[in-house]
């Protein structure tokens, strides 16, 4: 943790006093942690003399920023037109049920994020989902459990 705080200080040094630099600083903070942690935002708030409430408004206004530590693996389900028509909503639903998580959320054990995206450019494979960038095409509802299991196993090793 000590080291990380040091890094936040580097970000602050870099952007402090530069007009309109809050978003850049927050962006780098997110890059550092994968999300915007409250503690880091508080440090920026103190250094920039910008109330934490204003920073929070900014963070929640832009979809770009995440407030929670992301899961280890990111699942993205395509809801583009082609995938949608080929049953992507069912796939998404199944994932929600299996992982007990809403879209945009992270599982309790911190293993998976569940995101939704628009057209991944491989409509021929619809319905499509990716996990950590790896593409799974023509996904069937009953395959999902096994796909997820692969990642859970990886963990245990």
């Amino acid at each position: 943790m000590k080291k990380e705080i040091g890094n936040v200080e580097i970000i602050i040094e870099k952007w402090k006093g530069i007009k309109g630099s809050l978003i850049m600083a927050l962006h780098e903070l997110q890059h550092l942690y994968g999300y915007v942690p409250q503690k880091g935002a508080q440090q920026i708030s103190t250094a920039f003399k910008i109330p934490l409430s204003q920073i929070f408004e900014v963070i929640t206004f832009y979809n770009l920023f995440k407030l929670k530590e992301p899961g280890k693996h990111t699942i993205a389900v395509c809801l583009g037109t082609a995938c949608y028509l080929k049953g992507a909503p069912d796939i998404l639903n199944e994932l929600k049920v299996l992982l007990k998580v809403e879209e945009g959320g992270t599982t309790k054990d911190g293993q998976f994020n569940l995101d939704v995206v628009r057209c991944l450019g491989c409509c021929g494979l619809a319905p499509v989902m990716t996990i950590d960038g790896e593409i799974y095409g023509k996904v069937k509802k009953n395959e999902i459990k096994d796909i997820l299991a692969k990642y859970k196993k990886k963990e245990q090793k």
């Binding site: 409250q38 409430s53 929070f56 929640t60 206004f61």
Partner: protein, 902 residues
């Protein structure tokens, strides 16, 4: 003026108004909902739309300015339908909850729904008809509750927090349908920067935000409002207090008056509750067989009069001391000082102002000829630089703190000199953390820099002052290096402060106890006067010296002559002409000898010279320095009587206690920190068995053999006006509304906003006087055994000896116990963690108190508040006195720290 047409009729209206304001002035109704004047201008709701010729959309009347030739329709079908549709949308998620909502009857949304006849929004889903309990960050604080379902996202609360409170604790989070009023990162409200001033609650047009303390205490129609003055600090906020059907106060609203501009702090908003307390005294008490027992008024009055007479006959009138009070009205104080001087025949009359601003009264009098704040609160907005020294403004004078921050937002700069990194220091543009007790050195250093940079106002000095050469000579001794060494402030900061203050067009100084409560209190005040004089920052707008008064009527109690050396209006008792005037006015022989100060009462009692004390609501056994010795003194008295609303620490040892009415039950006047005399009105009936303070004194006087007859406070004020030249034009009739600022010598005088206007000072020769003040170290210095400096003071949530705020449930729940603030480095060195119990000792005693590790005190300094009887810091404070003002050195004591347990 410009011409516009509204609903087919031609009107002339002022330029710059919005359509809504113009219409309001003409009596044309335009509904508004999200708009709140001076606070919130987001124009979100669309309730106020009107039709305008040649406009493609329906403009919003709340933000659209009138323009020449404008033609507006406010009542067309299109307007009505649009407003209605907008309202349907606003109500789309609003529960149909009015029956059990505490806001019922004062809710703007409810009124509009009624007006438009919307029983149920066409968009409302069945599942939202009743609000469900949801968790919010507002759930765990005792002050404010939030019901998100009732929120219409008007943003008024967020704007109130930003623009009125100047805190920005809350915000609008997320976008689209998920938008909500939130705290940062969803932290509980109490973990944010929120100060619980409830400006947000007052701004909320619906039941979404509400004072938790008010829930279930009655609907709006069952509450009776009264306009009166906050009884806590010297800002003198105008409040509307509401009582329920059981004569209990249940709610407070800030009035948009000249003084507080619709704002208040947590004490004004919630602190009234003590008046409802079951601990209130309702019957006189007499000590019999060592115990205080109930007595009748006749018994208690007769016994007190008899004992006082006995003592006066045996030892002479100067063996009796009398205490007025800064928590009582002008009328109460006038009557009690008159009783002391005429009835008993002594000038031994003082009040708790001795312990806070006696240095100001003495110091500013010497330098300027008047011991009061020179300027007004409205003036703050005209100052370019605000120089704050020894004032924790946002906690002790919260509403002034808000004004200062608002003026900073308008472009003005803030300089703060304080050993503690208090909230206002955090907001400062320049912060100078000087060592406690080194104020004179610091101010001399700043003045030296002003001279070096030729920023002094030579013309002003030549025309309006005297004594400059002596000061100049003295300042030669205060070069940067030396001053930096004494004060512990970097030379560069001292220089920058000098440049900023000295370079300002108009700069205002604010100070409080950090300046006055020293053995060099008067010296400190003189130095401040020097600084203002040298730069010509007196007698003009946006400048001056604001000695911020601590208690609601500390200005007034002094004005009324509840002081041992002056009659009302600071007319000296040892001036034969003055004495003669008062002998004539009061029809009695008066003593020419100045009396004892309250800080001398206990020592004189101990030495057997003072035999009896009669006190009006004072609590010296809690609030004087080194209280253990004060107690010993009071215990040696042959007789001690007091009038109070509670059995205070002092009342506990009295021989007689009279039950009094509280400030919120009184008619009368308070004088706030800007010399504004303001009317108090009883917001509830006083409890049965109690009497008003002035009434008790008059009844006692009568039995004592000196008859004082008044029909009420108004008549007392008429007498005050007669004998006090500076208040000669003041009467209750004239005080309705904004009150009057003294000097107000005649009945047609409008009152005085700025003292010493144009450099004509109140001293006999009309000049301001410089004093060459040499720096003297604090009375007590640190050593091996007591290596820390202890400084004492107030915190936002509690007040003085705590007898009121400790009886306000929400407040006492929020801050239930005392604590000592310790710098993190010191704490680590001593192995003390947050919330550990530590023993704090000085040469006078020790207390056990919880540690709070905090970046506020600088290294080597600790802070403890004086509100808690269980851990009273005044067992530790240094009773050494300023030689002139006789104020104790509350701000510096050498102390030791020791961890007891985790």
């Amino acid at each position: 003026m410009i011409n516009i047409k509204i609903d087919g009729t031609d009107y002339q209206v002022e330029e710059g108004l919005t359509i809504a304001e113009a219409c309001a002035g003409l009596g044309i109704n335009i509904p508004t909902l999200c708009h709140l004047k001076d606070v919130s201008q987001d124009a979100y709701c669309g309730i106020c739309v009107v039709e305008m010729k040649n406009a493609r959309i329906l403009p919003r009347a709340c933000i659209t300015k009138v323009a020449p030739g404008m033609e507006i329709q406010t009542k067309t079908q299109l307007v009505q339908e649009t407003r209605r549709m907008n309202l349907e949308l606003i109500l789309a998620n609003h529960p149909l909850d009015c029956m059990t909502c505490d806001k019922d009857g004062e809710c703007a949304l409810q009124d509009l729904a009624y007006q438009f006849g919307i029983k149920r929004s066409i968009f409302l889903n069945d599942e939202n008809v009743f609000a469900k309990e949801v968790k919010t960050p507002w759930d765990t604080n005792p002050f404010i509750k939030k019901e998100p379902a009732k929120c219409i996202m008007c943003k008024r609360c967020v704007d109130a927090c930003a623009n009125q409170a100047r805190v920005e604790a809350i915000c609008v989070a997320n976008r689209g349908v998920k938008t909500e009023i939130a705290t940062p990162f969803g932290q509980p409200l109490e973990e944010t920067t929120c100060l619980f001033c409830a400006e947000c609650v007052q701004a909320c047009p619906t039941g979404a935000l509400i004072e938790r303390t008010r829930i279930g205490k009655g609907k709006f129609k069952d509450l009776t409002p009264t306009d009166t003055i906050c009884a806590y600090c010297g800002v003198g906020c105008n409040l509307k207090l509401f009582k329920d059907k059981n004569n209990q106060l249940v709610m407070a609203r800030a009035i948009n008056s000249k003084v507080n501009r619709g704002r208040a702090c947590v004490k004004g908003r919630y602190g009234y509750e003590y008046v409802n307390s079951p601990d209130r005294l309702t019957t006189p008490l007499i000590r019999r067989e060592g115990k205080l027992r109930k007595a009748t008024w006749a018994e208690a009055l007769a016994y007190t009069a008899e004992r006082l007479k006995e003592i006066k006959d045996k030892y002479g009138p100067d063996s009796i001391g009398v205490l007025g009070s800064s928590r009582c009205t002008n009328e109460d104080n006038y009557v009690i000082q008159k009783f002391a001087r005429v009835g008993i025949g002594t000038n031994n009359i003082d009040n708790c102002a001795r312990l806070c601003h006696s240095s100001t009264v003495a110091g500013l009098n010497l330098a300027l000829g008047a011991g009061a704040a020179t300027n007004s609160l409205e003036d703050i907005f005209d100052s370019d630089v605000m120089f704050i020294i020894g004032s924790n403004t946002t906690e002790t004078h919260p509403v002034i703190g808000k004004f200062i921050k608002e003026n900073q937002k308008n472009g003005a700069k803030i300089i703060v000199c304080d050993p503690r990194y208090v909230d206002i220091a955090k907001a400062a543009d320049l912060y100078l953390p000087h060592t406690p007790g080194t104020d004179v050195a610091l101010l001399n250093g700043i003045m030296r820099q002003i001279l070096e940079h030729k920023l002094e106002q030579g013309d002003f000095i030549a025309a309006h002052t005297e004594g400059f050469e002596e000061l100049k000579k003295l300042l030669a001794d205060y070069d940067l290096e030396k001053v930096s060494q004494i004060t512990g402030v970097e030379p560069e900061l001292i220089k920058r402060a000098a440049l900023l203050y000295g370079g300002a067009k108009s700069a205002m100084i604010f100070y409080t106890m950090g300046i006055t409560q020293h053995t060099t209190g008067v010296d400190n005040v003189l130095s401040i006067a020097n600084l203002a004089l040298i730069t010509g920052n007196l007698g003009k707008r946006g400048a001056g010296i604001m000695a911020l008064r601590g208690q609601a009527n500390v200005q007034g109690s002094c004005d009324m002559g509840a002081l041992p050396n002056v009659y009302p209006g600071y007319q000296k008792v040892d001036d034969p002409a003055v004495k003669e005037k008062f002998e004539k006015a009061w029809g009695a022989r008066l003593s020419a000898k100045a009396g004892l100060t309250v800080t001398e009462f206990s020592t004189q009692a101990k030495e057997g010279k003072l035999k009896a004390v009669y006190s009006m609501g004072e609590n010296p056994l809690m609030t004087e320095a080194d209280v253990k010795h004060v107690r010993e003194g009071f215990e040696k008295l042959e007789f001690f009587a007091t009038q109070d609303i509670f059995l205070s620490e002092t009342a506990e040892i009295a021989d007689v206690v009279f039950p009094a009415a509280a400030a919120y039950e009184k008619d009368g006047t308070f004088t706030n920190t800007e010399r504004r005399v303001q009317l108090l009105r009883p917001a509830k009936d006083k409890p049965q068995g109690t009497k008003y303070d002035w009434e008790i004194v008059c009844e006692l006087a009568k039995v004592f053999g000196y008859s004082m007859n008044y029909s009420g406070p108004a008549e007392i004020m008429d007498e005050i006006a007669k004998v006090t030249p500076s208040m000669g034009g003041i009467s209750f009739k004239r005080l309705a509304g904004d009150g009057l600022q003294w000097p107000c010598p005649t009945t047609d005088h409008p009152g005085t906003v700025i003292l010493h206007e144009g450099g004509s000072f109140k001293r006999p020769n009309g000049k301001g006087k410089f004093h060459a003040v040499v720096y003297k170290p604090a009375n007590e210095l640190t050593d091996k055994e007591y290596p820390f400096i202890l400084t004492s003071g107030r915190i936002l949530f509690h007040y003085h000896s705590g007898n009121e705020t400790r009886r306000v449930k929400a407040i006492d729940k929020f801050v239930p116990r005392n604590y000592v603030e310790i710098n993190p480095e010191d704490a680590t060195r001593l192995g003390i963690g947050d919330k550990d119990m530590v023993k704090v000792s000085t040469r006078r005693g020790s207390i056990e108190v919880e540690a709070r590790i905090s970046d506020r005190p600088k290294r080597g300094l600790v802070f403890i508040s004086f509100h808690f009887r269980e851990a009273n810091v005044n067992l530790l404070t240094n009773p050494a006195l300023d030689p002139i003002s006789k104020i104790p050195e509350y701000k510096v004591a050498a102390c030791g720290l020791e961890k007891i347990w985790n």
